[in-house]
């Protein structure tokens, strides 16, 4: 489904590569978790795959389509759940979703029933016509997610989709993502919640300093690391305990 070959990204004036000669393949139907400390290159990689950033070198294809030649087809194929709430605060949830949905070419009636359906699944029917600025963090996260899946993408990129949300919202979001995956959506997900990733992902990769340091099924990775009881211990063993503050 996603094939990344020798992909590199070096920002202007940066000393080091954010992503360096990265090779990665993600199969159709996988729930792939990209884990790494701050500044490891997770968001950069997602930004490149979702057409927000131009790679310095290398290549990738999604569903066989090369990113350089099939930009618009690729955009129709993928959904992106950004880290921040990318919503208009003064519009209602319904209006936001209607607008973003129409940008995928979805027509009025189909779009509306699609919105109502998603809103119901994520428990927001009562608040559909309230302005986003009145929503809690968890509610905004859910709308942020719906805005990215209304066109039924084949691949869904999620950049820390549960950061800063309450337990209930997180539960609903994770269940919904499981439901989408069961319906055939490939999920590419980054998170700092390693327990969540361990349970949710069929495969994970740990990225550090722009390169993949290990990858595999979570339980296999834990088994491969002597003394590790969970993914978090594998993660610390691979990336070290030093703080990774960066600005």
């Amino acid at each position: 489904m996603i094939k990344i070959t020798q992909l590199s990204k070096k920002y202007k004036n940066a000393e080091d590569y954010s992503v360096h000669n990265l090779d990665l393949t993600i199969e159709e139907g996988e729930v792939f978790g990209l884990l790494g400390p701050n500044g490891a290159g997770k968001t950069t990689l997602i930004s490149i795959l979702s057409s927000l950033l131009k790679p310095t070198s290398g290549n990738f294809t999604i569903n066989g389509l090369n990113f350089r030649e099939h930009k618009n087809q690729l955009k129709q194929l993928i959904g992106i759940v950004p880290q921040e709430y990318a919503l208009y605060p003064s519009l209602t949830a319904f209006e936001n979703l209607e607008y973003f949905g129409s940008m995928y070419g979805l027509k009025k009636d189909a779009l509306r029933s699609n919105i109502l359906n998603h809103i119901e699944i994520l428990g927001l029917t009562k608040f559909a016509h309230k302005q986003i600025k009145n929503y809690s963090g968890g509610m905004k996260r859910r709308i942020n997610l719906i805005a990215s899946v209304m066109h039924r993408p084949k691949v869904l990129f999620l950049d820390e989709p549960t950061v800063g949300v309450d337990v209930q919202s997180k539960n609903v979001i994770m269940e919904y993502l499981g439901h989408l995956n069961a319906e055939g959506t490939t999920i590419f997900y980054t998170s700092h919640h390693l327990n969540e990733a361990e349970k949710f992902c069929s495969r994970v990769a740990i990225i550090d300093l722009g390169t993949i340091v290990c990858q595999g099924k979570p339980q296999n990775l834990v088994a491969q690391h002597e003394g590790a009881k969970n993914l978090e211990e594998v993660f610390l063993a691979q990336t070290g305990k030093a703080l990774r503050d960066h600005a």
């Binding site: 057409s51 927000l52 990318a86 919503l87 003064s90 070419g105 990215s148």
Partner: protein, 422 residues
Amino acid sequence: MHKLWASTYKEFLLLIRDIGGLAILFLMPLFLVITITLVQNDTFKTLKETKITILLVDNDQGDVSKNIQENLRNSPLFEVQLQSTEAAAKALIQKGDYQLGIVIPENLSKDLNSKVAENVEGILEKFGDEEDSLPLVKSKLKPKEIKLYFDPATQFAFRNSIKSGIDQMVSKIETQTIYKAFQEELMTDPSENFFDTEPFLIFKEIVPTEGKKTIIPNATQHNIPAWSLFAIFFIILPLSINMVKEKNQGTFVRLRTQPMSYATFLGGKTIVFLGVALVQFALMLLVGVYLFPLIGLPKLDVSGKLPMLFIVALFAGLAAVGLGLLLGTIAKSQEQSAPFGATFVVILAALGGVWVPVFAMPKFMQVLSNISPMNWGLEAFYDVFLRNVGITQVLPEIGLLLSFFILTVLISVVYNHRKNAV
């Protein structure tokens, strides 16, 4: 088309949800045009109704100074207050208690009469005995200096108009003295009125006519187009801020991941903000037509001009929106877009002739004013309002406004592509 409509509807919703912003957008230009027109209209009234007190120091105490005093007292503009010394008058003016002081020098009457008599005698001698005439003996009298003291806070234009008024008054007195001297030399009976001292040259002001009706441009006719244009261009502020907000709140990032062109994104904003510009303009016209007469201002005459006015407003609005889109595309923060936008509009207005007519500007600025879209818009509005022209005569101006819109949008699209395209 579906995406453009959705973008337009979204922009419309964003606009109407911000009631405060909307009120500012529509009401502030109205307050602006009412205030400016009241100030400009009443400046002339005030000058007519309120007299300016002049401090007069009469060191001459002669006929000429009495004549000056009399003329000043008879003027509807001035009230004269005598001061004994120049120093006292100067101190009062510097304090700002008075705006103007006139110091008439010592022996002005005596020296002026002597100078004039000397010149008249010399001329008459030339006429009387051309061959035997003696060479004229030049007087040793030095030119006299009437000093004018101005409060430093007075405007340059005010000083100039006062100087010109006093200059005219002194010239008239000088001329009368010359006539009087001739009369005394030539006539046996001095009471006989030989010279007609009434002005021979008079001015006739001719204003444009429309059929049999005379078009007299008043403060309203000048201010509504100028300040409407100013308000229309102020749209670049909310528009650029709207775009910067989209970048900051992440919605623009989401849109970049969607199959949507930047032109569509700009298209929705263009349609809505162009609508805002036209509504603003319509409100300005309504104020000029209906409100101005109620508050004692001249009524705006729009009869037969409405379609042309809206055509000009449409193209001026397009130019303003184009500039706003460009600013919003380039600016990274509201701190960049808001001060730059506000200052830039003021510069464009100054260059465009909104405050000072272009013909009154220095040559270099006149050339520069040709590149201000506000100048093109203003010329087109004046053509319609004051010169009563048709569509063909305003085509060059609206063509420039349209070209400006196309150019700014093109630059925006290219800039965005270079900056964000993958």
